[in-house]
């Protein structure tokens, strides 16, 4: 347990892990250094997937992400696909599924191969096509050898929408839909880094899922009450954040969580819970119970949502906590702390 709000004098890797330590850092240091929150809208203090500003009778949603994944090419994708998907998905889980425009800034190490950069841009273009997004501006910097490792990308995105879906809208009785298998991205990176020889294929799930999220919103309308993409810290971190911000308890049924058998095998081998492993093409969607089946059916009809499942429900008790029903008994699901694997996205 990290003491609430405590930040060390030196910033360790855990502050980039997307969990409690990072939220403490943002609260204590980053928020203190910026101006007041927007009068009408969602600002940094909400620590949602992006910000939302009132523009006339619509919302402008804006988000930014830096991508430092190592290696830059991995089974199932590369840093370019990751950069576009990460930003498009952050917009989408705010309810803004039609990205107006993206930006892309590139920082390279001296000596980086032109051919590699070209390949990254091919991926960026492909992912943009899948998402219906366009990159409209960017920035390019080169740093000396050893001053940066290879390639870092930063992307920002803006989109307009009529209704913002926060990550804090859950009430007791709501159900949680997970749009597909968990742990694919993190274990694909882990396998490359640890040089695991695996039977079966570990591939990242990195993909823009704004179309899938749109299908869920169209099917559920106002009954879709909360969304989050479970990236760093995995489903566990995302659920903890949703439970805490919404003031509900969440019960997760472990046996309903879809996990590919090769991901489970790799997790067992390394002693890792798939629920704390990063995903890059999934969403957790909170819905009012009455709409759950129709939203689930709509998600399953989408090519990226065939394995979607209702994995949990919200309760009044244990507000802010996540309880795992293993099928045998129950225990608390611990929020991941520290860095399972740095530079995963």
């Amino acid at each position: 347990m990290i003491r609430r709000g405590f930040v060390d004098d030196k910033i360790g890797l855990k502050y980039g892990a997307g969990g409690r330590a990072m939220r403490a850092l943002i609260e204590r240091v980053c928020l203190a250094g910026i101006g007041p929150a927007p009068v009408d809208g969602i600002g940094l203090a909400a620590m949602d997937d992006g910000a939302a500003l009132r523009v006339g009778d619509r919302w402008l949603v804006i988000t930014t992400d830096s991508h430092v994944v190592h290696p830059i090419v991995f089974p199932g994708g590369d840093i370019g696909r990751l950069a576009v998907s990460g930003t498009v998905n952050d917009l989408a889980v705010m309810g803004a599924t039609e990205p107006l425009a993206l930006t892309c800034a590139v920082i390279m190490e001296e000596g980086f191969a032109r051919a590699d950069l070209e390949r990254v841009y091919v991926s960026i273009r492909e992912a943009c096509q899948e998402a219906g997004a366009t990159i409209v501006t960017g920035d390019t910097k080169v740093m000396g050898r050893g001053e940066i490792d290879g390639l870092v990308l930063n992307t920002a995105g803006v989109a307009l929408c009529d209704r913002v879906v926060p990550d804090a809208g859950l009430k007791p009785g709501d159900l949680l839909i997970l749009t597909g298998t968990v742990g694919d991205h993190g274990m694909a990176i882990m396998a490359v880094r640890h040089k695991l020889a695996l039977e079966g294929d570990l591939r990242s799930d990195v993909a823009p899922i704004n179309g899938l999220v749109r299908a869920a919103l169209d099917a559920g309308g106002l009954d879709v009450v909360a969304m989050k993409d479970p990236t760093r810290g995995g489903v566990s971190s995302a659920l903890h954040e949703m439970a805490e911000k919404s003031g509900v308890g969440i019960i997760v049924e472990e046996m309903k969580v879809p996990v590919r058998i090769q991901v489970r095998a790799a997790c067992d081998l390394l002693g890792i819970d798939p629920l704390v492993v990063a995903n890059e093409g999934k969403a957790l969607i909170g819905v009012r119970a009455g709409a759950a089946e129709q939203v689930l059916a709509a998600i399953r009809r989408h090519p990226l949502g065939a394995e979607a499942a209702i994995i949990g429900r919200c309760i009044e008790q244990h507000a802010g906590a996540v309880i795992l029903d293993t099928g045998f008994g129950r225990r608390m699901l611990a929020e991941p702390e520290g860095e399972l694997l740095p530079r995963i996205c």
């Binding site: 347990m1 695991l196 081998l269 293993t326 099928g327 045998f328 008994g329 225990r331």
Partner: protein, 384 residues
């Protein structure tokens, strides 16, 4: 390169057989009925294996145990019960410039003034290995002196014995901190304040020793021992049998892990174990002096015994007393089954896996680490 099994269908199926929630619910109900039939509460039983606690915590089984049944964690974590002076021996050798090869969790266990990890930060040569033969490989790759700081119960002691009998490179010696489980059960059975009425014995250790190793214990103490495996159904079935034996006042050894364990065990492994090691008395961290609880190299292997090859001056570490925090750690009570991790005021606060105060928070088989990893509040029965 590490090979990942488990994608194989047969293995998946056999695993699922012991992870069937429907059968688990039937066993949970049976456990409740049997416990009620005892007609008194609470009744305490003890497991002596970190892997049992791992499975109990991971599958949330503790929330399903009947209120009248107290399943206590015993001294089942080999890393946790390795005594401070044993860690100190490793640290001193490391600071003398000797390469130390040891199992991963040992590296971070606090000694009197430092852990092997601390010594490594000061420049000592510490190597994490996953199997005894890797210590031999390491020694072959260098002309420097290498010490295998060998820890663990009879399961890993057998592996150490096998490499010793295979012949060691001249620059490799053994610092044995191996422990032997059966004697400590005698200590815990007689410990005032525990009132343990039966034991769940570890299936993997029993594959080597055989279930018969517990027969003299049962005869002496009149307490039942059930050998159990590590899947949820193994543990539940083991507990049901144990409570039945308590109810019927028929203390005996029952092997509930027959797919791996036999009465006699692995005779060849036992023969190797006792050819290399002799049992001797010694302290287990936090528990007590355990007669015959330590495994030390026999005299004929003196030439490869690190304690004889090197001069180890333990007093050299004693100018640094352990911190006040470390002195107030209740690991000992937790391992003796007298306390739970949540009874410790440092648990999850000052003491975390990142900054462990006591050994129980270091090892993946330590009760504190396990409870912390699986959420810290294991009792969630009955609500929502």
């Amino acid at each position: 390169m590490t090979h990942v099994p488990g994608t194989d269908r047969d293995q998946a199926v056999s695993e699922l057989k012991f992870r069937d929630p429907v059968r688990a619910r039937a066993l949970i109900e049976a456990l409740g009925r049997r416990t009620a039939e005892l007609g008194r509460a609470p009744v305490s039983v003890m497991h002596v294996c970190g892997s049992h606690e791992q499975a109990i915590a991971k599958f949330g089984l503790r929330s399903t145990f009947p209120g009248g049944l107290n399943v206590i964690m015993g001294p089942g974590c080999p890393v946790c019960i390795t005594d401070t002076p044993e860690v100190d021996e490793g640290v001193i050798l490391a600071r003398q410039g000797v390469h130390i090869a040891t199992y991963g969790d040992m590296v971070r266990v606090p000694g009197t003034s430092m852990s092997l990890a601390d010594a490594q930060a000061e420049g000592a040569k510490i190597h994490v290995i996953y199997s005894a033969p890797q210590a031999v490989e390491l020694a072959r790759s260098t002309s420097d002196q290498v010490v295998f700081f060998a820890t663990g119960f009879e399961t890993t002691a057998v592996a150490t014995a096998a490499v010793v009998l295979g012949g060691l490179p001249p620059n490799l010696s053994i610092l044995s901190a191996h422990k032997y489980i059966p004697p400590v059960m005698e200590i815990v059975a007689e410990m005032p304040g525990t009132r343990v009425e039966g034991f769940l014995a570890a299936g993997h250790a029993a594959t080597i020793t055989g279930s018969a190793v517990f027969e003299p214990f049962v005869a002496r103490h009149g307490l039942p021992v059930v050998v159990a495996g590590f899947e949820p159904l193994d543990i539940l079935a083991g507990l049901v049998k144990l409570v039945e034996l308590i109810r019927d006042r028929t203390p005996q050894v029952v092997n509930m892990f027959p797919r791996c364990v036999t009465r006699d065990g692995n005779l060849r492994a036992q023969e190797q174990l006792w050819r290399v090691f002799r049992p001797t008395g010694g302290r287990w961290r936090g528990i007590a002096h355990v007669p015959n609880g330590n495994l030390r190299l026999r005299d004929e292997f003196r030439s490869i015994d690190a304690r004889r090859r090197f001069t180890i001056d333990l007093a050299s570490l004693w100018d640094h007393a352990p911190s006040a925090l470390a002195q107030s750690c209740i690991c000992g009570d937790i391992m003796a089954g007298l306390s739970s991790p949540t009874d410790c005021k440092w648990f999850g606060q000052e003491c975390t896996p990142e900054k462990p105060v006591g050994a129980c928070m270091v090892s993946s088989e330590g009760a504190c680490k396990i409870w912390h990893q699986y959420g810290g509040h294991p009792d969630l029965g009955g609500d929502a």
